[in-house]
Symmetry: C2
Subunit: 413 residues, 2 copies
Amino acid sequence: MISEIISIGDEILIGQITNTNSVFIAKELNKIGIEVGQITTISDNSKKIIESLNLAKKRSNLVLITGGLGPTKDDLTKHTLCKYFNDILIQNKEVLSHIEDIFLKYVSTPINEKNRAQSLLPSKAKIFKNKYGTASGMCFKRDDVYFISLPGVPFEMKEIFKNEIIPFLKSEFSRETIVHKTILTYGLGESAIAERIESWENSLPKSIKLAYLPNLGRVRLRLSSKGQNEKEINEKINYRIKNLYTILGDIIVGIEDETSIEKKILDLFKNSSKSLSLAESCTGGKIASRIVNVSGASSYFKGGIIPYNNKIKESLLNISKKEINKFSDVSKEVAIAMAIGARKKFNSDFSLAVTGNAGPKKGNNNQPIGKVFIAVSSSDNTFVEEFNFGNHRTRIIERAVNKSFEILLKLLT
Amino acid sequence: MISEIISIGDEILIGQITNTNSVFIAKELNKIGIEVGQITTISDNSKKIIESLNLAKKRSNLVLITGGLGPTKDDLTKHTLCKYFNDILIQNKEVLSHIEDIFLKYVSTPINEKNRAQSLLPSKAKIFKNKYGTASGMCFKRDDVYFISLPGVPFEMKEIFKNEIIPFLKSEFSRETIVHKTILTYGLGESAIAERIESWENSLPKSIKLAYLPNLGRVRLRLSSKGQNEKEINEKINYRIKNLYTILGDIIVGIEDETSIEKKILDLFKNSSKSLSLAESCTGGKIASRIVNVSGASSYFKGGIIPYNNKIKESLLNISKKEINKFSDVSKEVAIAMAIGARKKFNSDFSLAVTGNAGPKKGNNNQPIGKVFIAVSSSDNTFVEEFNFGNHRTRIIERAVNKSFEILLKLLT
């Protein structure tokens, strides 16, 4: 079975917002064994919507539509679907009372006719309740093709999708299992890797697809396969990965999984009852902000100092002016002093410090743009690593953040 | 004239990455007056690519294709385009020496045959040099439709697009001007706004399109129009906006423009020669990390403290334990004390402090999840504002960050 996603919204076509809804839906569909064959974004335009539905119908068994279900004039999806499926709108009392309830509880302005009209829904469609909003989800069926329309506001859509659509799809379709495993490598370009694994790649069975995903100094290799028997597919892929380790073992960092590196680090710190603090110069708080995005971070993260100005390195991290002048603020010595300073200030078990030149100007130190030092300190040991992350500001920062998480993970495992 | 974008890549269809390339291209095309009618994502599959090219050809004058130009086996775009346009590959000597140069300068591994093969390019296509990589851009033309193929690695694609494709498109097409103006409102839902502006909306000429964009407590209203005379279009839209102010003046925050709020704040601080420091509790460094993303931030940003643990509020920001115990760490009083503490520690002209409950657990204070206090301090004045940002952790953090930037902007204007 094959599905596709149609996102409706001028804001995507003019580059005003990123289509994150389709990323979420594609990922969730893959998890339950439904392949996504195409993602299409079109404008809020009835003719265009109908044209796209007609094309999608020929290609797919399931069409997910997002957007255009709001209460205002520019929202055309509901009326267009009614026209397409020769349906009429009727009032859904349950949805009406849900909408009234939302206004009573959460909205400071009184309910109006436009809000109430959100309970007028196609008579033939199966309706899915929108817990967080007033635009219901709906499902039509024609010639064995399912069309499911969902609101475009991401957090409303996600809630309906997880709690209503997934169980519905599981009950309606017999599905295969899709398995993706992604191997993280570091230090070689994709063509160099391709050369090393050529005979391994050529020996892959047709049922396993290999993809190369190069990004910011790393190449990820994804193996994908699908079938009825999940255990068999996993074994088949794992066997190939085992062989891959014998060829690329020196550059493989690990297998990517659903758990983010932030979550893994949280779990490791929690289990060991250790605490962490940060001193972030060039990364300016980005490591900390990714740490606190994960709930439970307060169990191990004591906080951080962002000494963006050298005087702050002196006053808050107790680094001597002499040391900074001698070695410059972007140096091994200052990175180490920052880590030790943070660990002592926060009284934490571990600390991590980053200092570097993110450019575009060179600054007062003599280091080239892209040079970054990352130091880690504990009461037992303090060490520092030196990197060169290229010459593009936001990429340098991003790579320094990623590398810091890698170092923290290694430290704890 | 109308264009469309075809993104090639299984990684988008399985939800492994977000299609940010199409956002960038759509925005850039809009700027030079080329409308994007559709964005399509398909898999790395020759049949699918050809099917999509055939459909796109019927709808558009210009088709932008990204992805599938790498040196490895899973990259099929170049060969598929050759087949589609009955072309053959020939070696491009200039591109070959560029590739050899890249390997000499930036890559630690020696160049191999796969890398050299990147200089084999379709004989009939116009070739665009990829400054940062080995996959060239190329343009084919058939029946007055232009097909431009670009690499999928975002920073390589962006460089070619800005420096090669934009000038090329400007020279090849006579284009209209597209104007979008987006008005930011705060405090009313979209249906309440729609009700208030109903007669204004109904009086809009057909040539102006209105869109409602609700998101995280704000509704943005976008007015779009296009035509030959840029000045005329701007005047037409500005006239409508002026009228809108008389109806919605109380909830309009301003007009959205290309300059990010971070950049505006940087410019304002720079012009006034003032400095800033931060104390971020629940936002955990996210405000700082957005500040330092903009180059030049060091001219005003002295740094920040992330006192994620209450003891750190005491030791680093000089807030008394008594005060925290009396008012709790999520309180007006502690927000104010944090702001004053940061300003003094960093010796900055201004400081901003955030403390709040991001959930999912309530913590030791008595405040509900979503409660956030933001305080600003200068030597003249210190004030605090109280907010309730809902009950979803990352949304609470995101809204607190956005609000902090709004407050900083207001402070300086």
